[in-house]
């Protein structure tokens, strides 16, 4: 029962469905079912690891410059991770590098990752008990899981949303937006 309750709570806190974070990235990745899920997995990797590092930025940065300097610090963290993940992938072999690098390119700099970092930082600022690396890491993972869930939702309806039966002007992106909107409406009704 508690697991089900947690699933419902996790769904109600989904960043794509409640704050629309990362929707543009999802649509860029929405050229195929597999692309969607792989991109969401790489985004999860970014949100999880980057969140753990942002903890240090949040604690070490003086409050007088926080408003202006947070973004550049987060950007640098993501930039370093971006280069690091590409390097790691390169060592797995050229074929894999060529096949998977696009997911890293799409997933690094976007509202999904950056938005997650800012959201976690905001929550931690409001509640001091959240200020530790593990919580940041877990919150990043939770946000990433939300992206995977949302991408699975989209992947399930992918064929229907791109079907020839859908009017040409609504086929693809517009239908996806409306589909996500109705799911988001149900998530809103949960609250």
């Amino acid at each position: 029962m508690f697991i089900i309750n947690d699933i419902i709570a996790l769904l109600a806190a989904n960043l794509i469905l409640t704050q629309a974070l990362g929707t543009s990235t999802m649509f860029i990745a929405a050229s195929g079912r597999k692309n969607l899920i792989r991109t969401a997995c790489v985004i999860t990797l970014f949100t999880t690891v980057a969140s753990a590092f942002t903890y240090f930025v949040d604690t070490l940065m003086p409050s007088s410059v926080r408003v202006y300097a947070t973004l550049i610090c987060y950007t640098l963290i993501i930039g370093v991770l971006y280069a690091f993940f590409l390097t790691v992938l390169y060592f797995f072999g050229k074929e894999k590098f060529n096949a998977y690098k696009k997911y890293i390119h799409i997933s690094a700099f976007n509202c999904a990752v950056m938005g997650t970092l800012f959201t976690i930082s905001e929550k931690a600022a409001a509640d001091d008990s959240l200020r530790n690396t593990v919580t940041y890491f877990l919150k990043g993972l939770e946000a990433g899981a939300g992206f995977i869930v949302a991408s699975l939702f989209l992947a399930a309806a992918f064929k229907k949303l791109n079907s020839e039966k859908v009017p040409a002007s609504f086929r693809g992106y517009p239908a996806m937006l409306i589909y996500l909107g109705i799911i988001s409406m149900a998530v809103y009704a949960l609250k």
Binding site: M1, I4, N5, I7, I8, L11, L152, F153, A156, A157, K159, K160, L161, S163, K165, V166, P167, F170, P174, A175, I178, Y179, I182, I183, M185, A186, V187, Y188, A189, L190
Partner: protein, 319 residues
Amino acid sequence: MRKERYIWLDKMITLATLSLMAFFYYGTHFLATAIICVLTAMAAEFISLRLMHKKIDADDLTCTSDALIIALMMPASINYLIAALAVIFGTVVAKNVFGGRQNMIFSPAAAAYLFVLTSWGRDMLMYPAPHVHTGLTGKAENLVNSASHVFNMTGKMDYTDFEILMGNFSGPCGAVSILLLTVAAVMLIFRKDISFGAFFGTILGTAAFAFITPMIQNRTDSVKYSLVTNMVLFASVFIVSDLRIAPRKWYFAFFYGLFIGIFSYILVLTTAKENAVVIMSVLFTPVALGIRILEKKIRLADDEDEEEKPAVEAKEAAV
């Protein structure tokens, strides 16, 4: 597979009887709401089909049954404009934008209900008491919370079994007539108009969890009241078991319904969320779509096996 128009006809018969009961309890206001909903649905359907350059045939009348379901899920005091907007949303946004009845993703009635719930929550969840007839333009003065809300919040249900069976308690117009809903469910199941697996799964999921983790001390009462409140029975018949949405194989449909039942019961138990089953039915739409993809893959694999069988047999015979 039976033509949609025959399924629609059966559904309309059951919905008409529920409407009759609602008319008895709430008078002409409900009747006007139902008529407005049906006419709006027809207009929205025909206009959007024209815009999509699609031919209109008798199967397109299914929009009227969806409209009647929407009308029956609303309180008798609902503003006519809100009812009409809900129907337009259900018909155009939740159905025809995705390609209409040949490419259904959401139950139009469930999506329309959520649309009204999220935009006009107060209008949607306050009800006139039964037998309060306001006439066509009058407004009910003393709106009350539904019996479901009271049960969710306090665990109390101050109605006799007979009143519950007859639907003589405050709530959505047509979703409280338990006896009629039971008869409708049996009829529609025997006529194969709804998915038996999904219906049975929802009822079993709700009942099982209401027994295991009861909302009130008496487990039997917990099961009984959990099934008759929060539109569980109504949604099980007309939304979750909708053949256009539910998985095709009965056992897949059963698990689909079972999880909707369990999740919605737990949502009611932990947050006292009224009519959670409708919310869950929309949230489980991707699950239904995923299961349908799985069913298709299994069917294709079976077909391939069937095609290979004669060749293998011929090979074995030759050996």
